[in-house]
């Protein structure tokens, strides 16, 4: 009880003071590790494992740095994850007004995805989910490739003991990816406000998408190859599947407000103002039940269904992506390519927000009639095609 009072008197007011600054911009710094040049900053130790130099560690906080140091080789997996997330985000949104613009050359806060992150809109929700999913996916992949040695069945910052491995094997890389992503990505979130809850929830949505899209495959190897003994393993989904699923969730994202009773896992209910945060810094790791965050939200529109564990949540309106606005971080659709025959969002009417568009003839040089040998193209011809490209004014 004493601790509760302490929290109520000291930590709570302090946290709310800090809240204004920390609300949005603080999280997601780790994304910019993708903008640091690779290879040159990575040296290898005697075992051939990539270990990192300090410049790459700068965007990470203390806890994240420790995790990277404890898991040699994982930094590469994380930076590949961010790149994969960016590629997928751009692919999924290539026909939208917001096409996931990134700035690879700028460093600092909000460096990668820009100021859009200051708004708690759908797009932000998607970014959080896809990056968190990418870390899960990429770490699991690295484990399965063997480039990270510390992957264990049980995430305890230690390698599996030789006896455990010998006794019962240890193969669940995806569980490790999930747990690592949980600890690493969520270590970036501070505070106890609605934005914190939203980020945490969307991070978990991303991870859950990877875990639940896994497929099981089995092999029978009993007596004479019969199915009396069957061993199964899990396969990671392609990241495209994850991206597509999250894009669907983006379109059906739920606008939420904080539940009136406040955070559900709070024992004393003196914090019922939305947006107020409790000093929940003790055992933060424990309070986040993997699927429990959605119970803190209620739908903004009372007629809507409450958000489920695999629904993206947001609470701000999206900014107007039609016009360039430095303050909010939108680029506008001027100069964007559009499809003059489409009636969808990629159609010129919608893409250019009712403005006019220009068509121009472009000669495109392409490699064509290539001979393709399963991995690589050999012997191509160069063809030139003329295409009309429409761009928004």
């Amino acid at each position: 009880m004493k601790l509760e009072w302490l929290v109520a008197f000291f930590v709570l007011p302090m946290a709310s003071l800090l809240a204004k600054e920390t609300t949005a911009a603080s999280s997601g710094k780790w994304w910019s590790i993708a903008t640091y040049p690779q290879k040159s900053n990575i040296v290898t130790d005697t075992q051939g494992t990539e270990i990192s130099l300090e410049p790459q560690m700068r965007p990470l906080n203390k806890r994240q740095r420790r995790m990277v140091r404890d898991n040699p080789g994982i930094l590469l997996a994380i930076s590949q994850a961010v790149k994969m997330a960016v590629t997928e985000c751009k692919y999924q949104f290539k026909n939208r007004r917001w096409n996931c613009p990134t700035m690879m050359n700028v460093q600092g806060a909000n460096s990668l995805f820009g100021k859009i992150l200051n708004t708690a809109c759908r797009e932000t929700a998607f970014i959080y989910a896809i990056t968190s999913a990418a870390v899960t996916h990429s770490v699991a992949r690295s484990c399965s490739e063997g480039s990270v040695e510390t992957c264990t069945c049980d995430y305890k910052y230690q390698r599996p003991s030789e006896e455990d491995w010998e006794w019962g094997g240890c193969s669940d890389n995806i569980a490790f990816g999930h747990r690592f992503s949980q600890k690493f990505v969520d270590a970036d979130e501070k505070g106890r406000d609605l934005r914190f809850m939203m980020n945490m929830h969307n991070n978990e949505v991303g991870r859950l998408t990877v875990s639940s899209d896994m497929r099981q495959e089995c092999k029978c190897h009993g007596m004479s190859g019969s199915c009396t003994i069957k061993t199964c393993w899990m396969r990671l989904p392609t990241f495209r599947t994850v991206g597509e699923f999250l894009k669907d969730r983006f379109d059906g994202a739920s606008r939420v407000a904080l539940r009136n009773e406040g955070v559900r896992d709070s024992s004393n209910s003196n914090s019922n103002r939305p947006g107020s945060e409790r000093g929940g810094r003790r055992d933060r790791g424990q309070q986040r039940a993997p699927t429990g965050t959605e119970s803190n939200f209620q739908p903004y529109n009372a007629n809507h269904k409450p958000a489920g564990p695999r629904d993206l949540v947001y609470f701000d309106d999206s900014p107007d992506f039609c016009v360039r606005n430095e303050k909010v971080g939108t680029l506008g659709t001027v100069g964007r390519e559009c499809n003059n025959t489409s009636l969808g969002v990629d159609g010129c009417d919608l893409m250019c927000c009712g403005r006019d568009y220009d068509g121009s003839q472009v000669r495109i040089k392409e490699r064509c009639s290539c001979t393709f040998h399963w991995c690589c193209k050999v012997k191509c011809q160069e063809c030139t095609t003329v295409r009309t490209v429409y761009r928004c004014r």
């Binding site: 490739e145 040695e149 193969s171 003994i229 050999v378």
Partner: protein, 551 residues
């Protein structure tokens, strides 16, 4: 068969004996379910794409470590660097670095899983009957810093069975392909294994066509390694080590008892003895050897031992039922059962030939499988279908004989009260023995099936829920069923051993020669319970076994 112990045993002793067996049975399940880990584990290893412009089959390409190869992350990078398909070596080191393989893993299977990306580009489509040609080298080493030694180097072709699960064009998705069996090693004698796979574009000698040209665009190759878990091996071998001397001692006891009878042994006794011998061979914990010596034929051997046990068990059933037919024919000779036994022998001979072809060739080339080629597939199917037909005909025989026995039993029971005492006792003894055996056998068989289904269902649930339960159902199933058949053999040995009690020995009736009239008259009085509550339940048991007091 002379009066068996089963008839002369008091109900109290019999139930005590059954209780003991039940306890052993439960212990077997618990050991498997609580102590042992899952029987086997699978490791999904993503291969590293190494580059080898020299196309050297002498060099080893290691994915990690100080001698790591020059690698590319994906094939976009390869295209940019101007790399040819022939240069790419998919490399997988087993197991991942801090771990080593252990001899208690017993066997190692490799399965190849290909991620073939869908592309709408010309020439990147996957042909419907595509086959992939692999040049594979498998190596091993026992020290951390030594060189890899070659185990085998082969040129194999596998058929791809892939479908694209979507109807529309979806770029970035993968075909859904059946996992390809890669290799099977009958022993895991070394600490590290290395697999180097190439998919060269060469002219096929037979057809003149280029290999690996219509396989779409593979993005990743995964090698799934399956091996038995060390913990399971330990538990399994411990059970065998404990069971072996027990069953062997009881077998010796049984045979001495038969011998001390002073009469030549009857067929049924010899069959039981043979069953016990084969059970003992199956129990013999030969696998301990693998800890010191490389025994690649261990899986073949255990398959053969298991097959022999099943063949013997099925023969035993036929002979036992035949000897209790209660018609007037003279039996007690193996010749009488030649058709049935021949069908069993033939069934297991087919399976034996199949197994020798599959596992025998694998001793030389672990990448061989009959299922991979059309001819082999047809041959394997032929063996299995033939075995299936034989097994079915055996089952029909068996069911028919069981039906005959029951028909005879009901006929005899109608005439029982009119028979002379000696004959009546003879038939009652036969009926009792048969009923007990039937109930016991059917229960054992049903439990085997139930446990099998349960372990499959429970395991399936466990996977879906993702919660790690502390009970290993599959392991429990294996140890439980193994224990159950041991208990079955022990029970048959003990209960159907000839009895020394010869209180009501009379001359041979007109029944089958193998069934001497020796029904002990004082069994019911001996077993008569004093406690009225027990009496009620026991009466039920008696009625179940149609063994009513004959006083």
């Amino acid at each position: 068969m002379a009066g068996a112990i089963l008839e002369n045993l008091s109900t109290k002793k019999l139930s005590f004996f059954c209780l003991c067996l039940l306890l052993v049975q439960i212990a077997c399940f618990l050991v498997g379910g609580l102590v042992a880990p899952a029987p086997s584990s699978a490791h999904n290893i993503l291969t590293t794409k190494c580059i080898d412009p020299s196309f050297s089959l002498q060099k080893w390409f290691q994915p990690h470590g100080p001698h790591a190869c020059d690698k590319v992350r994906d094939f976009d990078e390869a295209t940019k660097r101007g790399i040819f398909a022939d240069w790419i070596v998919f490399s997988a080191q087993v197991p991942h670095r801090p771990n080593t393989m252990h001899r208690s893993f017993q066997y190692m299977l490799g399965v190849l899983v290909m991620d073939i990306g869908y592309s709408d580009e010309d020439g990147k489509h996957l042909a419907p009957n595509a086959a992939v040609t692999l040049v594979v080298r498998l190596g091993y080493k026992d020290t951390d810093d030594g060189e890899f030694q070659e185990l085998v180097s082969v040129n194999e072709t596998r058929k791809l069975e892939c479908v694209f699960p979507f109807t529309e064009d979806k770029v970035g998705y993968h075909y859904s392909c059946e996992p390809l069996p890669l290799f099977e090693l009958g022993s895991v004698h070394h600490k590290h294994y290395l697999i180097n796979i190439r998919m060269p574009i060469t002219k096929d000698k037979a057809t003149g066509a280029l290999t690996n040209t219509n396989i779409g665009s593979p993005e990743d190759l995964h090698v799934v390694i399956i091996h038995q878990n060390g913990g399971f091996t330990t538990v399994w071998m411990s059970i065998k080590t404990i069971m072996f001397p027990i069953v062997l001692l009881i077998t010796i006891w049984f045979w001495r008892r038969v011998k001390t009878q002073g009469k030549p042994s009857v067929l049924l006794e010899r069959t039981i003895f043979a069953l016990a011998i084969i059970m003992s061979i199956l129990n013999f914990p030969m696998e301990w050897l693998t800890f010191w010596v490389e025994v690649p034929f261990m899986t073949l051997l255990s398959d053969i031992k298991q097959g022999a046990f099943y063949a013997m068990l099925f023969s035993f059933w036929i002979i036992f039922i035949g000897e209790h037919l209660m018609d007037q024919t003279q039996r007690n000779r193996l010749k009488v059962y030649r058709r049935q036994v021949a069908s069993i022998i033939f069934t297991f001979f087919c399976l034996f030939i199949f197994d020798v072809c599959e596992r025998g060739v694998q001793l030389v080339n672990p990448f061989f499988s009959m299922w991979n080629t059309d001819k082999g597939y047809r041959l394997a199917m032929a063996f299995i279908i033939l075995a299936g037909i034989c097994l079915c005909s055996y089952c029909l025989f068996l069911l028919f004989m069981v039906y005959q026995v029951f028909k005879n039993i009901s006929m005899r029971r109608a005439t029982l009260p009119h028979m002379a005492k000696a004959r009546r006792l003879h038939y009652e003894g036969l009926i009792y023995r048969f009923r007990f055996f039937m109930i016991f056998t059917v229960l054992t068989a049903i439990f085997t099936v139930i446990f099998f289904i349960m372990s499959q269902v429970l395991e399936g649930h466990q996977k879906a829920g993702e919660s790690i339960s502390s009970v290993q159902y599959t392991s429990g199933f294996y140890t439980g069923v193994y224990g159950m058949w041991n208990i079955y053999v022990v029970a048959v040995l003990v209960l159907y051993a000839p009895s020394h009690k010869k209180t009501a020995s009379t001359s041979n009736g007109e029944g089958s020669e193998g069934s001497h009239v020796e029904f002990d008259i004082d069994v019911p009085s001996e077993g008569r319970p004093t406690d009225p509550v027990v009496a009620g339940s026991l009466t039920e048991a008696y009625q179940l076994l149609s063994k009513t007091a004959t006083e």
